[in-house]
């Protein structure tokens, strides 16, 4: 499933980036063509204007006479330029009639009045041709037409096309690889939360199925059994009742976790005096059988500390934490409930000197259904949801919860709540 999404992401990325790349390459090529053409035109223009500058028109007996003898290519009095690539050059008079030419035989009449053209010859060579009207003293004396082959420009462009043809697929491949890598990167948190959810579902289904199985099996055994022992039957009912009761606690916890996602609505918050709350809790809790075997101490500051929150929820998690502390602290141990402030936080600490938590378990301790010792907590009736609930309540108050523990020496849980 993840690989398919990753492939999709990579494909879309490659397609998008690939189209952008291809459009970019096409643009670059287009500009290169224009650039090369301009370069060629400039060269052609330079040559033709040089030729045109050598045309002399003189007045003889009131008649104008044209002298083309000193024009390169056309005249005989001058050496042709060496590196010239001109294919042909022709001179037309002002009536657009051919006067003199060099190279291929042109048509007798000039059909166009000026400008650049691209033409194809019979021998399939592309030529760039310019037709230049030539003026002298503001008078049109004739037209000069010349053409150059486009072979160099063409080969330069062909070379550029080759470079593009090689580099574009390579870049495309790099884009595809990057897309695959980015896809993997993007999938990571999704995969992580998916795994998390999978684990949670597996745990939840196991935790719910176990008591269901026990209830069903006990009930079914009850009516399938041929035994007439009434005491046995009573015990079986008792067992079913107890399992159902503990299952109802589990279901309540799960519903609670589902209900209190995110921040609490502000209208449900009230001002809570934490000193008062903790005194009440300690007084109530000291009479619980769980707390009888050890010393429960409450240490409060002199000034009152108030926070905004839901008193019932806060009471529930503090009792939860006290329950844990008392459960895992042997006879004669001590559990300390402490309150103080730290910059903008009200801090509630639950400290015990009980059996502690192994270091390897600490990172997972707030995960739902996580239990350090499955067997032990099953006997003490825990589902591994207490700390997850505590964390969720604290987070819904905009606070945080941390744990410090040394195995076999004790555990400290700290709740940070934003001060009012």
């Amino acid at each position: 499933m993840f690989n398919r999404s990753r492939r999709n992401l990579a494909t879309w990325f490659t397609l998008t980036m690939g189209s952008i790349l291809i459009m970019f390459a096409a643009g670059v090529y287009y500009w290169e063509v224009i650039d090369k053409l301009e370069e060629l035109d400039r060269l052609l223009y330079k040559k033709t204007s040089l030729m045109a500058a050598n045309v002399k028109s003189e007045m003889h007996n009131g008649q104008r006479q044209l002298n083309l003898e000193y024009v390169p290519f056309l005249g005989s009095m001058v050496q042709p330029l060496l590196d010239s690539q001109l294919v042909y050059a022709s001179w037309y008079n002002e009536q657009k009639q051919l006067v003199q030419f060099f190279g291929t035989i042109p048509s007798d009449r000039l059909l166009i009045s000026g400008g650049f053209d691209t033409i194809k010859t019979d021998s399939k060579v592309w030529l760039r041709q310019v037709t230049l009207p030539v003026y002298q003293n503001g008078l049109l004396i004739g037209y000069l037409q010349a053409a150059m082959p486009m072979t160099t420009t063409e080969s330069a462009l062909a070379e550029f096309r080759m470079v593009l043809a090689i580099s574009a697929p390579i870049t495309l491949a790099v884009i595809a690889l990057t897309g695959w890598w980015l896809g993997g990167l993007a999938m990571q948190p999704i995969r992580h939360s998916y795994d998390h959810l999978q684990r949670f579902t597996a745990d939840a289904s196991h935790e719910l199925r176990s008591p269901l199985t026990a209830i069903i099996s006990n009930a079914q055994y009850g009516f399938l059994s041929k035994s007439t022992d009434l005491e046995m039957q009573r015990q079986r009912f008792q067992k079913i009742f107890e399992i159902a009761k503990s299952m109802s606690i589990l279901v309540n916890n799960l519903l609670f976790l589902a209900r209190y996602q995110g921040k609490l609505p502000t209208e449900s918050l009230q001002v809570i005096d934490l000193n008062n709350l903790l005194v009440q809790i300690t007084d109530d809790y000291a009479t619980q059988p769980d707390a009888q075997h050890l010393g429960l101490v409450c240490k409060l500051p002199n000034n009152n500390i108030t926070v905004l929150g839901d008193a019932d929820l806060l009471r529930q998690i503090i009792i939860n934490l006290l329950n844990n502390a008392c459960k895992y602290t042997p006879n004669g141990g001590q559990v300390k409930l402490q309150l103080f402030t730290q910059s903008h936080w009200a801090v509630i600490q639950v400290i015990d000197n009980g059996i502690g938590i192994p270091e390897a378990d600490l990172p997972y301790i707030f995960e739902r259904f996580y239990r350090v010792d499955k067997k032990r907590s099953r006997q003490t009736g825990g589902f591994g949801l207490g700390l997850a609930i505590a964390q969720q309540i604290v987070q819904s108050h905009g606070g945080k919860i941390t744990i410090k523990s040394i195995f076999k020496e004790g555990t400290t849980l700290q709740i940070y709540l934003p001060l009012k």
Partner: protein, 224 residues
């Protein structure tokens, strides 16, 4: 038939063990993988019912190790894991059947019977010696159209004797086969059980088929 039941949740273990015992099976129960492994090394079982999620050694590795050790009794995996991938993994680990919790006990018993039929020395639903027929599922013995019902315990004894006919079986052998692991039978328990079974067979005119071999044990000796 001797069954090893491995389940770590006592609340689930008890009714399972109860219903299987009432159905006439000898059930040894183990609460974790290590105990199960030790029991397997001590006894030969005809069927294993194994939970997947177990402390120490989980059901999957238990199953694999059991198969690797070359033993071939059928294994029924009974677990809350219900995805197809889980089932595939369980069956590939060597389980012969896979039942998802919460399972119906009636279905469980049917599957146990079905798996039991695969045990090599099982002959269908009933055992027969001469003209005496023992219907295993109903725990009843039949001879010349007369039918007698047996208690689960009597059934177990008769099954064991019928599987080893004409053979002298010591008290120890019988006790070992019939009592659950770690249960020390009272000194006269077997004698009482033999007597009860003889009384039942008496109703079919076969009371003297179970012979006492003095100083040694018992022998099932059908009379033609």
């Amino acid at each position: 038939m001797r069954i090893l039941l491995v389940e770590d949740d006592l609340e689930q273990l008890e009714p399972l063990q109860g219903i299987l015992s009432e159905a006439g099976y000898i059930v040894d129960a183990a609460e974790d993988g290590e105990i199960a492994q030790w029991l397997i090394s001590q006894k030969d079982y005809d069927l294993l019912i194994v939970d997947w999620m177990l402390p120490t050694i989980n059901g999957l590795s238990l199953c694999r190790q059991y198969r690797l050790s070359g033993k071939n009794a059928p294994v029924l995996m009974l677990t809350a894991k219900d995805t197809t991938a889980d089932k595939v993994m369980g069956l590939d680990a060597g389980a012969d059947d896979y039942l998802v919790k919460p399972a119906d006990l009636v279905e469980l018993l049917a599957r146990v019977r079905a798996l039991g039929r695969r045990v090599p020395n099982w002959q269908g639903y009933s055992l027969r010696i001469a003209d005496l027929q023992f219907h295993l599922a109903e725990l009843s013995v039949e001879r010349s159209q007369v039918k007698v019902e047996l208690s689960p315990r009597e059934g177990q004894l008769l099954e064991y004797l019928m599987r080893h006919p004409n053979q002298v079986l010591t008290r120890n052998q019988i006790e070992d086969a019939l009592w659950e692991y770690g249960m020390e039978p009272e000194s006269n328990a077997l004698t009482v059980l033999i007597r009860k079974l003889r009384q039942r067979l008496q109703l079919l005119g076969a009371g003297d088929w179970i012979r006492t071999v003095y100083g040694m044990g018992y022998r099932l000796n059908p009379q033609e």
